[in-house]
């Protein structure tokens, strides 16, 4: 690890911190720009009740004071305040509740996408221009063009309503099968295409020809020489993949009734539960920003050929 590496990592961490701060700031001010405030639209409330509620949630203070209190609570205690609609619960507890299911869902989907994607991509590259390559490419092109909610709904129609093989309720363990598949199909297709093209690139390199000339066996060339280098571009996709899975899970959890954070997010938007919307946005944003940072840093550190700027 030389000083240039360290400099890059430092710069990247700084950018991530800055981004998280920008997200918090935008979220805070955007949510407070809404006319009427969070208590509007609730069944007729007297002036005094609204005043009392605002005092309770600290909304009677000047905006900047509220902002700094909010920022301080997040930084020092990771506290996003109480939920307005779910009385007596803290936002962070509700989110942690939903995260249990969502993290499980997301991680399995990511692993599934990674493994099938790499295998299919390698197969397509090694059987280039044969039937199997063409089939894989056609299918992945179709998957890349289909929004996740459409994929989810089509799977729901096929396997839950028509064939009745799987339960449609995501609260049961069998009910997670379809959400996982739905979320993993797009990244899987993307990784397949990525692996295929980088594998083709690597297989054309001189050192592969040298290895072949030395008489190294085919499998050893693939797994010992080609695979390692062709997986480097896949690392760059880690960050976008997590972002896709996070935003995808918002609708997919809706479709399959999975009690995860995406569902809480949508219901808090509908209920206008402002602290919940802010908290969920910020936490999901931190997740995405951090994953992007990690994949960027990994990419530069893993491949010594990549220049630092």
């Amino acid at each position: 690890m030389n000083s240039k590496n360290m400099m890059y990592i430092l710069k990247r961490i700084l950018l991530a911190l800055l981004t998280v701060w920008v997200v918090i700031t935008i979220t805070f001010f955007v949510m407070h720009a809404v006319p009427g405030g969070p208590f509007l639209g609730e069944k007729a409330m007297s002036e005094a009740t609204v005043k009392a509620l605002e005092a309770k949630y600290g909304m009677d203070k000047p905006l900047m004071t509220q902002y700094f209190t909010y920022l301080k609570d997040i930084v020092t205690r990771f506290d996003f305040g109480p939920s307005i609609k779910q009385r007596g619960r803290m936002v962070i507890d509700v989110i942690a509740d939903g995260m249990k299911t969502s993290v499980k869902l997301g991680l399995i989907a990511a692993f599934l996408a990674l493994i099938t994607g790499v295998v299919l991509g390698a197969v397509a590259a090694l059987r280039r221009n044969r039937i199997i390559d063409k089939v894989i490419m056609v299918i992945t092109t179709a998957f890349v063009s289909m929004p996740s909610f459409i994929m989810g709904v089509l799977l729901l129609i096929a396997f839950v309503i028509r064939l009745k093989w799987l339960p449609g309720n995501g609260a049961t363990s069998g009910g997670l099968v379809l959400p996982i598949i739905t979320l993993s199909l797009y990244p899987m297709a993307y990784i397949t295409r990525l692996t295929r093209s980088s594998m083709l690139d690597v297989l054309g390199q001189d050192y592969i020809r040298t290895a072949r000339a030395k008489g190294v066996s085919k499998w050893k060339i693939i797994f010992g020489h080609a695979m390692k280098n062709s997986l480097i571009p896949v690392i760059t996709y880690f960050g976008p993949m997590i972002a896709y899975i996070v935003t995808g899970s918002i609708v997919v959890e809706q479709i399959f009734a999975v009690p995860g954070i995406g569902r809480f997010f949508v219901s808090s938007i509908i209920n206008r539960d402002y602290p919940m919307i802010m908290g969920t946005t910020i936490i999901l944003a931190i997740l995405i920003v951090v994953m992007n940072m990690v994949s960027d840093i990994l990419y530069k550190v893993v491949d010594p050929r990549i220049k630092f700027d």
């Binding site: 006319p35 929004p147 459409i150 972002a243 918002i250 609708v251 938007i269 999901l284």
Partner: protein, 352 residues
């Protein structure tokens, strides 16, 4: 004549006028081709891109033309006639079925326009709703990409031309916006803007378009220009330093000529291609937001909101979901394939 190596005498045979035959060698056999015509030729040869282009044109044309002559409106509840009780037999018709009133009319010898895709739960003709939804989705995709293009060109060329501190500051802002999680910000802004805009727009002609669509455009204008401006800045920076630009300047070309003949042809293809690839992205985002209930205002349909509405009756009317799903996927797929084809045909750097 004896040839002396150091004499100044020239060989007069070298200066005989060329015969007709010799002149014919110099005639260009193929008409000279322009960059654009060359690209079009390559594009037409690419069968996948051509088919996708035809699909896009067909879908766009039918989205524009069909509402003009279709006898039903997208918001017209067929069972509701003023002054009469609601005719519920119009609701939830299967494709190509008729309501009891219409069956009576047919029995009386009248012709009734068929409901190709049936009707929805409010008795609205589903086919025309899908056509309108397609229209909205395409329009949103198109205008959002234009907005992204304009802002991207402005910011990118300012950063590229002026350089220095301005460039540095702009690019840091671009870095931060680029690393914002876009979808989350879109959801947040869309859910807030529609509340704010609803009041601001009331009474203006923009009200009909709906605050959600406008907030979608604002969101696109705020967030999605960054990659376009990065692209354009990079193009300007690298093209300025090219040897052929220097060579053109050295041979006395005016800057107008250089811009027209060297910079624009090298830059425009990349810009057009990424704009073309931006359209499916915008359609994607719009349908995603509509699906979450943050899209177009009812009763205006979009493909995403049609799919979302259909979720309620999914077990008995699955086709109502499958139809908009197929249309969205078809649009996005063919736009993507066509964009890829454009890139293969028009990107000069790929052909090199």
């Amino acid at each position: 004549m004896k040839h002396k190596p150091f004499s100044m005498q020239v060989n007069l045979d070298d200066f005989i006028p060329a015969t007709e035959e010799e002149k014919a060698y110099m005639v260009q056999m193929r008409p000279s081709t322009t960059f654009f015509r060359d690209g079009v030729k390559r594009l037409v040869k690419n069968r996948v891109a051509l088919v996708s282009f035809i699909v896009i044109v067909l879908i766009t044309l039918s989205a524009i033309i069909i509402p003009a002559f279709w006898p039903y409106g997208y918001e017209q509840m067929l069972g509701v006639t003023p002054g009469q009780p609601v005719d519920a037999s119009y609701n939830n018709l299967q494709p190509l079925h008729y309501s009891t009133t219409e069956q009576a009319k047919i029995a009386a010898g009248e012709t009734v326009f068929p409901h190709l895709f049936g009707t929805d739960s409010s008795g609205r003709d589903y086919f025309i709703r899908v056509v309108y939804g397609t229209r909205i989705s395409l329009a949103v995709g198109f205008f959002a990409s234009i907005i992204v293009l304009i802002i991207g060109i402005l910011v990118g060329s300012v950063a590229g031309y002026i350089g220095g501190k301005v460039d540095l500051i702009i690019m840091r802002i671009v870095d931060i916006i680029y690393s914002l999680p876009d979808m989350l910000m879109v959801i947040l802004l869309a859910s807030v803007l529609r509340l704010t805009l609803n009041q601001a727009l009331a009474g203006t002609p923009l009200e009909k378009i709906g605050s959600n669509i406008i907030s979608l455009f604002i969101v696109f204008g705020l967030l999605y220009w960054v990659s376009m401006s990065r692209l354009i800045r990079g193009q300007i920076l690298s093209l300025r330093e090219q040897e052929y630009v220097l060579a053109a300047q050295a041979t006395g070309a005016k800057s107008g000529w250089i811009i027209r003949k060297h910079l624009i042809p090298n830059c425009i293809s990349v810009v057009i291609i990424s704009t073309a690839l931006q359209i499916p992205n915008a359609i994607f985002t719009e349908s995603y937001l509509s699906f979450l209930g943050l899209g177009v205002n009812a009763p205006m349909p979009s493909l995403g909101s049609l799919a979302a509405d259909a979720l309620n009756g999914i077990s008995s009317y699955a086709y109502r979901l499958v139809i908009p799903a197929i249309v969205i996927s078809l649009i996005v797929l063919s736009l993507n394939l066509f964009g890829d084809g454009l890139r293969d045909a028009f990107d000069p750097k790929l052909n090199a």
